[in-house]
Symmetry: C2
């Protein structure tokens, strides 16, 4: 009876079985579900609680029975390898990696203010930092027959999800094979997030976690892995998630002319105070908090903060993890997968009614964020990583309103 | 007699035996010799001729007898390994890599215009692209006893040059061990540049070539390689070649707070026309040329050019190598060591007397150059990679002056 009712609901609305979500999330789209937490929650803890981790679904959340789940590995000389969830968990060592994931569209709303773009109107919280546990993709590929002979011709590892559109087309993406098989790439077939089984919105029972790489390649509800000469032929690999010059519009865009986004560029944003916030003169100082992260395993080494719109700068305190700071706590070079939270407290400048607070981060390749949005504007509104700016009003306490 | 004369000269002037240089080079410092070619020469050929390749010497050029030269490898369990030049050439496979080298101070003169910095006043041509041949550092380290046991503790590979100051201190630098031993790192102990033996100014008989890494780590006149737990203790590793926030001055700088520059950020510059050049209205169009490069093996995927100071942009044609363009000619991911030259021809906009030409490049991690110089200004004037701008005057042909 219940099953029948469910199926009826399902046939009329493919999203009817989507999981419940936390009511504090800001919803950008309900079907498919896309939502982000209030920004200040991001800097409350180094690890983002799963409930507050941004949800970015392209399609309905698939209902997966873990007992009958099978992961399929194709394209290797040994033929097709099929793994049950139990086999994935027991046949391969379990690795845990703390990695930040960011949606390509994070901070798109700022680009929208320059000129309308196409895409969900993400604020600055389509990013989160979690602890992921699972088998190494490298280990599974080696067990499935990957070796030096395959390395001669293999160039990409493709992923397909169990999430499908009404035509039956599954979500898909791919990553370069060297990232997939590198010992230092740390690519996981994750079955846990923050020490618990993957939540439905984050890919239960198995997702790919590709540290340092755009969210879109971290395929959820993973069904199939294909070692190939080619990139995924999916819409999301070929005709989406690419960056273009600001002069390119929908009449002139040639998706073949740009590479698929993989590693993301240096990013930072202010989570508190929020734009338009009020601080009182009696507080004497203002505390600014935010996050900073760079793709490709590049470590954030500095965040500069300005209270005067970028004329003068001070250096923020970085918080990299729970263990401590300094070189002895640094991740191995090229494997800084997790963000740094940062904070700066500064005296309120006298005789100023408004602060324009700005942040910009630097990674260990000394890449910096661009100053302004217009020159990096692109028709799809991805890769929005200009300096983040918020305006704050200073109110004199004497004035009661 | 000749020898005696030489020694007398040498004792009075350690630079007396420096080699002859091409008269077209712009000299920034004579002793030690630091010079760069006219910018437009850089875009005349994909491979920079050795004579025009920027010279960046910290000390006098050492006189090295190739017959008695010995390369020393230290810090490995097998004890000290010594290699003659002949052994280096015959005991290890010869590899050839095309790699761009850039001085950390390239384009420092633009920072100097914002506020005085300390350092040689480099223009935009302290960069060059050459073909380097030699043994792989990886192969030499493996032969000298590097293995999984060493990998447990080794963190850095230090280099010492034969060039010494008056106190006898040699030039030194180091790189992370994973770059040194990685199969994909392509670090060479090079004995040839552009198909000929290394010129004296470029490190004869052997230099390190660390593709994707700042010039300063590409130690010339290589004498010693040391596998270590620590970075080089040299001045140039510890107290130079680091980037700081624009607010840091010589009273507040703490060199321990910033990482040694290794991989360089995305860079591009306009080689022609030059700033202040005149174009005639009758030419109808203007051709703009330049170079673009990114460190860490990241490939330049796009160069945007503006004629109106950054308000509107067009995409330049890229030239990656002599073979061709397109994905089939791309280097393997993460191993794009060489620059791209670029070019754009555009109609002269009517009713404008002056063009402000601007370029900015994008690499395959979608890192972009910062818009302006002030926010990346640093007391040592390194890492100057803001958009490059040149102003060009349009002259009406009717007016004879
Ligand atoms: Mo995304
Ligand atoms: Mo340099």
């Amino acid at each position: 009876d219940d099953l029948k009712k469910q199926q009826t609901v399902e046939s009329s609305d493919p999203y009817a079985l989507d999981p419940k979500r936390h009511p504090m999330l800001h919803t950008n789209s309900l079907k498919p579900f896309n939502a982000e937490p209030p920004p200040e929650i991001l800097t409350d803890s180094y690890i983002t609680p799963s409930a507050f981790f941004f949800k970015r679904n392209h399609l309905p959340v698939p209902q997966v029975d873990p007992a009958s789940y099978q992961l399929v590995v194709e394209g290797l000389p040994g033929g097709v390898l099929k793994l049950s969830l139990e086999e994935l968990k027991t046949k391969f060592p379990k690795h845990t990696v703390t990695a930040t994931l960011q949606c390509a569209g994070n901070r798109r709303s700022e680009m929208n203010k320059v000129k309308q773009v196409k895409g969900l109107n993400w604020g600055l919280a389509a990013i989160g930092n979690a602890t992921w546990s699972g088998a190494k993709l490298r280990d599974v590929l080696l067990a499935a027959g990957y070796g030096s002979d395959v390395a001669q011709w293999a160039r990409h590892v493709q992923f397909e999800g169990l999430d499908k559109d009404v035509m039956g087309t599954a979500y898909g993406a791919s990553i370069p094979v060297n990232k997939a098989v590198s010992e230092e790439g740390d690519v996981l077939l994750a079955y846990e997030m923050n020490g618990e089984e993957l939540p439905a919105d984050h890919g239960f029972p198995v997702r790919v976690v590709v540290p340092g790489t755009v969210g879109a390649r971290n395929v959820k509800w993973l069904r199939k892995i294909i070692v190939s000469t080619d990139e995924s032929s999916s819409h999301w690999q070929q005709n989406d998630y690419k960056g273009f010059s600001p002069g390119i519009d929908w009449d002139t865009v040639d998706y073949r002319s740009a590479p698929a986004i993989q590693e993301l560029p240096i990013q930072s944003a202010i989570t508190t105070p929020s734009d338009g916030a009020v601080v009182y003169r009696s507080a004497k100082e203002v505390t600014v908090k935010g996050y900073a992260w760079s793709g490709g395993g590049r470590e954030v080494v500095r965040v500069d903060v300005s209270l005067d719109g970028g004329k003068t700068w001070q250096v923020a305190q970085l918080r990299g993890n729970e263990k401590g700071q300094g070189p002895e706590f640094s991740p191995p070079p090229g494997r800084a997968w997790a963000w740094k939270l940062w904070e700066v407290s500064a005296p309120l400048p006298p005789e100023v009614q408004e602060l324009e607070i700005v942040c910009k981060a630097v990674d260990n390749s000394y890449n910096m964020q661009p100053d302004t949005i217009s020159p990096i504007w692109n028709l799809r509104g991805v890769l929005s990583n200009a300096w983040h700016r918020v305006k704050v009003n200073i109110r004199e306490d004497a004035v009661e309103e």
